[in-house]
């Protein structure tokens, strides 16, 4: 009896006929796809095809295809250059610093979730989301204003307490802290939304049962709330890893100056500088390719680790 089902509606049709019939009936749906498909081909797949200039010496008049192959020359030049280790180190440290602070939005969400006064809760949420809507240019502008060595609020406080003013913006030692913590200021509230949603899905019966057993609020947070949102945490952590080497370089670029370059020079800003400012397209494309290769490798690696360890993964 099995397998007969198909034959009732579609008697003896070839695959080709089915396709043609589907197309005749639903062609408009395929038209719907056209703008997006055109966009992805033009601005994603053609650039992917263009990545080959990383293995070529790109000359504008010869085009991407016509430029001569040079193999791994650009990669070798990059790996052997004196700034390679500095760039790699700066990128890794900045990324790792941000990754360490990954739990902060989770803590905020756990804390907000415990608030019983719904008006206070709503106000707290709205206010913590605010910095998300401020542009990165303005955030860096505010950093410049607040950390100004003479007129900035922070340095006036330092002076008030008898310290010496610090020129945060031109000091290599301070760059990473200023960059990362201003990022926390901007993304903390927004980042907590997803965890708050996960928390609101926790089964209340678990809490009731734990209460009966005499568990305290903190115990319930640690033994019920956190384990319940662990899948969300794992998935977001992997997604974070996937952009590990990207470090939010548009902000780095704004905060960078000659004096703090020792720590603020990251791979992405270097790609921008050598590629777009100096016009070394092939060399810069090679460095960019190296960067995204590491990203993909990390994503795949951590995804498989997560799948083995916790059953939660992207794919």
């Amino acid at each position: 009896m099995k397998g007969v089902k198909n034959d009732i509606s579609v008697p003896a049709q070839s695959k080709f006929d089915q396709v043609r019939k589907n197309f005749a009936r639903n062609w408009q749906i395929y038209v719907f796809l056209l703008p997006a498909v055109a966009y992805f081909i033009l601005l994603h797949y053609i650039p992917m095809y263009g990545v080959q200039i990383a293995f070529k010496n790109f000359f504008a008049n010869l085009g991407i295809w016509g430029s001569p192959w040079v193999g791994f020359d650009h990669f070798e030049r990059f790996f052997n250059s004196y700034y390679f280790w500095r760039l790699l180190k700066n990128t890794l440290i900045l990324s790792a610093y941000q990754l360490i602070l990954f739990p902060l939005p989770i803590i905020l969400a756990l804390s907000l979730h415990e608030v019983k006064n719904s008006i206070f809760k709503r106000w707290a949420q709205t206010l913590t989301y605010a910095p998300h809507f401020i542009s990165v240019v303005v955030v860096v502008g505010m950093i410049v204003i607040f950390l100004d060595p003479t007129t900035g609020l922070v340095n006036r406080l330092i002076l008030f307490f008898g310290g010496d003013p610090v020129n945060f913006l031109t000091s290599p030692g301070w760059f990473r802290h200023v960059f990362t913590w201003s990022g926390v200021w901007q993304t903390l509230g927004w980042g907590s939304i997803i965890y708050l949603a996960a928390l609101s899905g926790v089964n209340p019966e678990l809490h009731e049962a734990a209460k009966v057993d005499g568990a305290s609020r903190l115990q319930r947070i640690f033994h019920i709330n956190i384990p319940s949102i662990l899948p969300t945490i794992v998935v977001l952590f992997i997604l974070n890893i996937g952009s590990f080497m990207t470090v939010g370089f548009e902000k780095v670029l704004l905060m960078q100056n000659n004096l703090n370059a020792k720590t603020s020079d990251v791979i992405q800003t270097f790609v921008y500088q050598t590629g777009l400012l100096e016009g070394q397209y092939s060399f810069a494309a090679a460095i960019g390719l190296f960067d995204s290769a590491i990203n993909i490798a990390l994503l795949v690696l951590f995804n498989s680790v997560a799948r083995k360890v916790s059953d939660n993964s992207l794919w």
Binding site: V19, F23, N26, I29, Y30, V31, F32, L33, P35, A36, V37, Y39, L42, L43, P47, Y49, G50, I53, I64, L108, S111, L112, E114, Q125, T126, L127, T128, Y129, A130, P131, I134, S135, V136, V137, V138, G141, M142, V144, I145, F146, T150, W185, I193, A197, S216, R217, L218, T232, E250, Q268, V271, Y272, L276, Y281, A284, A285, G288, D291, S292, L299
Partner: protein, 295 residues
């Protein structure tokens, strides 16, 4: 073996204090900038102004509104945001709808075609070369087109269509002879206002706040969006102000009003979004949530 037990009341107290500290840390810089923008610059730089405005003056705003570059940037940003968001929806919605229809053949292939761009992209240089070869340099399109839609948005909108557009509705209309165009425009879109709002808002905020595409693709100052003008005033100008040059007297005055202008320009550029988002917050939150369902 409990070391200490926190009573319910004690826990609430500590939790509330913790949240209040975080709120102060997040909100204080914003209030400071707002107050400083209407305070006497002398009071701001001497520390007399630390929370509420002192010796209220609107000189900063006068200077900002008298500045042609800022007006032009504002106008450009509004145009880029509106046109860019419209194109975003035009590309995103039909595609996401088509991907939600079960009669679509080769759906898996198309989904992978879209998703792969999330995993890998050509990178800055190849993308720049493509944009350049398409003749978009120094035009509005260089701001709008390179990021017209992301794979993530398509997945989110598709999830929405799958959940909220009943299959029977579409099939019944088709049997009645309605075309897919008609069904999409007359029936699907009116049912999808929440997702349209979410997607439009997300994209508009990104367009309003982005500076990098403008930085690399535009050289004509008349086309600069607000964020590039802001970058000059807030970030780059800092260096110029410290340069010696010009008469000493005017320099002191310049520095003073320059400070005031900075506060005012931050408010002028950020206030529209900061005033609007609390009212449409639920749409934004919805967007984040629909996005997370997929995972």
């Amino acid at each position: 073996m409990k070391r200490f037990t926190l009573s319910d009341k004690g826990f609430d107290l500590i939790n509330t204090i913790f949240l209040l500290i975080i709120l102060v840390l997040i909100v204080y810089p914003l209030i400071f900038v707002l107050s400083a923008s209407i305070s006497d610059p002398q009071a701001v730089s001497s520390g007399k102004m630390w929370l509420w405005p002192v010796d209220i003056t609107f000189k900063g705003y006068e200077r900002v509104f008298a500045n042609d570059a800022i007006w032009l940037g504002y106008r450009n940003t509004i145009i880029y945001t509106i046109v860019g968001t419209a194109i975003h929806l035009f590309v995103l919605l039909p595609c996401a709808y088509a991907l939600s229809r079960k009669e679509l053949m080769a759906k898996k292939l198309i989904l992978w075609f879209v998703l792969f761009t999330m995993l890998f992209n050509g990178g800055l240089i190849p993308t720049y070369l493509v944009v350049k070869s398409m003749g978009m340099l120094d035009t509005m399109w260089a701001i709008i087109i390179p990021n017209v839609v992301g794979a993530w948005s398509i997945l989110v909108a598709r999830a929405f269509f799958q959940q909220s557009i009943p299959d029977q509705l579409v099939e019944a209309s088709k049997i009645d002879g309605a075309s897919d165009f008609y069904i999409f425009i007359r029936m699907v879109l009116p049912l999808s206002l929440p997702i349209i709002a979410v997607m439009a808002l997300f994209h508009a905020v990104n367009l309003w706040n982005q500076y990098f595409n403008a930085l690399i693709y535009l050289s004509d100052r008349d086309k600069y969006p607000l964020q590039l003008i802001l970058r000059e005033i807030l970030v780059v100008n800092q260096m110029q102000l410290n340069d010696p040059g010009g008469s000493a007297e005017s320099l002191v005055d310049q520095v003073k009003t320059a400070g005031l202008i900075k506060y005012a320009v931050i408010i002028v550029s950020s206030l529209p979004l900061l005033l609007v988002y609390p009212f449409v917050q639920r749409f934004f939150v919805q967007g984040v949530l629909i996005g997370s369902i997929k995972e």
